[in-house]
Amino acid sequence: MFGLIDVNAMYCSCEEAFRPDLNGRPVVVLSNNDSSLVAVNRAAKALGFRRGVPYFRYRSQLEYHGVAVFSSNYTLYSFFSARFAAVVESLAPRTFTYSIDELFVDASHIERTMSLEAFGHQLRAQVQQHTTLTCGIGLAETKTLAKLCNYAAKKWSSTGGVVALTDKNRLQKLMNLAPVREVWGVGSRTEKTLATLGISTALELSRMDTRLARRMFGVTLERTIRELRGETCFALEDGTPAKQQIMVSRSFGERITALSDMQQAVTGYATRAAEKARQEKRWAKAVSVFIRSSPFDTQGASYNGQATEILPVPSQDSRDIIEAARRALLRSWREGIRYAKAGIMLADLQGKETQFDLFNEQMARAGSEKLMQTLDRINQTGHSRLFFAGEGIQPGFAMRRDMLSPAYATRWQDIPTAFVR
């Protein structure tokens, strides 16, 4: 039995926590560099604002409606995230942090002492009281089903934010209402291919032939189907059904025109991508770089460049990824463009077992694993950071964060004020 708990509109809720004046007001949070809307609270959504739209296009409308706009304050969000996790852990001993605002819990023994639903409501009330955050909770036999119940808890407010389903008939009813893209691990590409097979709901997916699913989409979707049928395939600590790619991309605060600046940016993204690969225990065979001008720029030529390098041996070593990324960048670079965004994608990801190819002359670098482990360990301390000189020492493309909220919870000067009157 598993539970999935996630915080409603996490970033906006964190911004509202210490701002009583924002109660009931529309709030949005911008992505890195203040480039687009990354989080939208209920009131802002009601005004028609959506995630993903570029900020500068909606700036005047946001102002007109008196929407409170914030740059992303990750210090604040991680503080709340840690609090949220601590509260949940105090009630459920085994948990697995899935993302900044999502946790899985092992709910196996709950039913001996209380109903799952009562447990969910208790969790929700505790999180609310301790952190001010509101969360949605789904509880069911498998992680995939728990995630689906969580979707239901958010979608229908009459549930009170908690959906616990163990009854087969009620589960089927929910699966019949849930579009297949709401199933954990089904991406938009899979959704499209499934549509051609006439599969559009979770229920239809659960009835798909597992051998066919394995042949067409791989073993992960087969497991997803089994999980929808109530058979546990993913343990608590298992991450996402393995990712197909690792992406790191960003818009620049200011346009980049010099190759040396772009090399620094891409080196930084390559480092980050390699870190992610190591976290997820994946080795990449293909490294792609893309660079582009802004579709909203009226001056200058528009350009969309991209190139891919194939590594001789699958790697997660930052040095290999950086080298390949820089080669790909040189191939895709064109002078005279005002670049607005760049990114890197690692693809053809493999597990450890395929790393060594007997027939390949070229072997992985000696001592690579140890060196990278050391690097990661130092960087995880958070005190200082070891980095590749190629990332630049004082990058000229630093992030834009014009509307950053105070570090209410982590800096003495920033703690909120209460008035005596």
Binding site: P20, D21, N23, Q129, H130, T131, T132, R411, W412, Q413, I415, P416, T417, A418, F419, V420, R421
Partner: protein, 82 residues
């Protein structure tokens, strides 16, 4: 706030998890800002300013937002933190 001995510039330690009781010093949000008051539940629920210059605030117990209970006060002697 004379009786509770809270002064301008003091740092309040606020426990959100604690249940506010009759007599608790609380941080509540009223009129779009945080305010420190003493909670009184008897004979009628109200927030006492404890500063005679301000009147008590009567409230609807279901609508009032108490942010947390003040458990300690760190008194400032004028030094700047940070």
């Amino acid at each position: 706030m004379q009786d509770a001995r809270i002064h301008d510039g003091d740092i309040l330690v606020v426990d959100r998890a604690a249940t506010p009781r009759h007599g608790s010093i609380v941080v509540a949000s009223i009129d779009n800002e945080f305010t420190v008051k003493q909670l009184q539940l008897r004979p009628v629920p109200c927030l006492m300013p404890l500063n005679p210059a301000y009147p008590p605030i009567l409230f609807d117990p279901d609508a009032l937002q108490i942010w947390g209970v003040v458990t300690y006060t760190v008194m400032s002697h004028g030094a700047c933190l940070g």
